[in-house]
């Protein structure tokens, strides 16, 4: 009886551990896919801004182009960070997830700001 109880505790613990691990896996996959989507959207956004800047003839063109280049570099660095994130082990993943998300939000905010400046 005691042995049976012990075995059932082990089974429950294994099930719980399995659930936790699959939940983590799902969170990781979801976050990485979302980040890749946000990066792709950022690229599309920057490409469209590049097209708009091409047709500018005023004095702000050089300045806008410089900001656009800067954002494209930031996007490239975020993309490398995502590659690192995907390859990293679980303990470290959680720690750098925040940095990845922050890089994306700064990139998105700055892209929005550039777009607003262009269309002003």
């Amino acid at each position: 009886m005691v042995r049976l109880r012990g075995a059932s505790v082990v089974v429950v613990l294994l099930v719980l551990a399995g659930c936790a691990s699959s939940r983590e896996k799902a969170e990781r996959t979801q976050f990485e896919k979302a980040s890749a989507r946000r990066l792709a959207a950022a690229k599309a956004g920057l490409d469209s801004l590049a097209e708009e800047i091409k047709f500018r003839t005023d004095t702000t063109r050089a300045k806008l182009a410089q900001r656009l280049d800067s954002l494209d570099v930031a996007r490239g660095v975020a993309s490398l960070k995502l590659d690192t994130l995907k390859a990293t082990e679980s303990k470290r993943w959680r720690e750098i997830k925040g940095e990845m998300a922050d890089m994306l939000s700064v990139l998105e905010a700055q892209t929005d700001s550039l777009r607003a400046q262009l269309r002003r």
């Binding site: 960070k81 750098i96 997830k97 700064v106």
Partner: protein, 569 residues
Amino acid sequence: MSRKAAYLIVFLVLAAFGVWWLYQALEARTPTSRVARQVRILVQRKSLPLPGTSRQEAARNWSLVREFYQRRGTKPAWTDGRGPLSVTQQLVAAIEESGRRGLDPADYDPAGLTDQIAKLQSVPLGTPPPARDLAALDVRATYTYFRMANHLLNGHVPPRSLDPDWRKSPRAANLAGNLESAIRANDVSKAFDELAPKDPAYARLQQTWDEYAKLTQAGGWQPIPGGAPMRPGERSTRVQALVLRLTATRDLLTGPSSYDGVVGEAVRRFQARHGLAPTGLVDATTLAALNVPAGSRLRQIQLNLERWHWLPSDLGDPYVLVNIPDYRLDVIENGRSVLTMAVVVGKRMSPTPMFSDRAVAVEVNPYWNIPASIAKNEIAPKAAQDAGYLERSHMHVLSEPGQNGTEVDASSVAWSDTSSDVSYALRQDPGPDNPLGRIKIALPNEYDVYLHDTPAGQLFSAKSRDFSHGCIRVEKPLDLAAYLLRGSSEGTPEHLQQLIDSGENHWIAIHNPVPVHILYWTAWVDPDGTVQFRNDVYGHDQRLDQALREGRVSQFEINPQPQQEESGP
């Protein structure tokens, strides 16, 4: 075809078969073939006690042994059926000299190997030694060779066993091919040289190991008795001991009897070589460094030679080297430093990890995305005490870390609750308060460690500079950025200064990403031959020393399943 011709063909075929059979029979009786047969028996055995620091290591080397003999049809490599070949003696010599390669000869049992060779050589002339014994020596020598070769290639101790955050780039080589070349060229030492790091700095450290080994064998140096700080003008028995000590390591070439200017200069030289303030006075810290025994310095050199084996084969050219114990960054071009600066590294409680990465971009006027641990432990208490702290520091509170980062009102956060995980993110705007300063060099590594400027420039004047949370603060960020961006119109110091002055966040790509190596050297030799020692700031030397001592050779059964031996003559 006539019947006669058919008989002739059958006869010729039979004759050819007979010749082939006779050849095989004679060949099987040659001493080499007898040993080859015994080698085949040995390598087919699955249960064989072999030395190793772990079962995995023993199994990996054993699989190399099998691959090696399979490639040569189990033909012996170290013996010729009549006795051991000269390469066996070369292997013993290489083991005995392995200290200068950062290895410990005792790990490869040179005495046992020598005994085995001597026994086989003592067989009376005209009588070939037993094939079984020759095969045993052959397999043992091959196994020992691979064990040492693997240690030269990737080190004896996996760095992650000492520190889970220590990343190394495994070096690969065709070890079976390497041994084949050693046997063919009859040169074991050269083959080992091919596996060792090629950087001239490694060779310089090896030469220094030789010198310190000689010094240690000759008794090293005598400790200088303790007492008050020694100053110029002093004459005492302690000064005589100081002169002897400085002469032993060639900090001083002549031996004056008093503490004159020459001795003061030698003390300054010694202090500089040990990362101490070059005051020229022998205070307690300098005395402690002077009194480290020669044997301990020898061991320190050996530990650093071991670390060389953890590095990638090609460090790149140019590359950025950050040496933690030296609190210094150097840009190395063609083996020489072309740019050097002080750095501040992680505290002992939050050490900077060791890894290799690439500098891919420069961020001017960076934002600081504050890590959750710093937000919780350092910022939240300040925000709880002072409602205006965040605003004055140009920090923004964002909803849930890792999400879209919508800005929220700072007053909606319970700052005094530090019991649970943070449910917000903090970001600081670029500016004079930002701890990343005006320049950040992005390295896309998994630790979020980067090189950056700092508004706390006064810390660079400290001798020990372990103050950060793990990131590396650099003394001359503008010079470093300009170097990394050289050749780019955006990378001139003037343009970078303009961008800084604009106050706007700006990214510039480094079109040829430069390798960055964050390393831990407590002993190295400058290109001009100056031997440098530094303190073991994170205790990595101590842990490595212990691991090497504890990881003494054990016997492992490769696959402890009984298997019948192949029967043979």
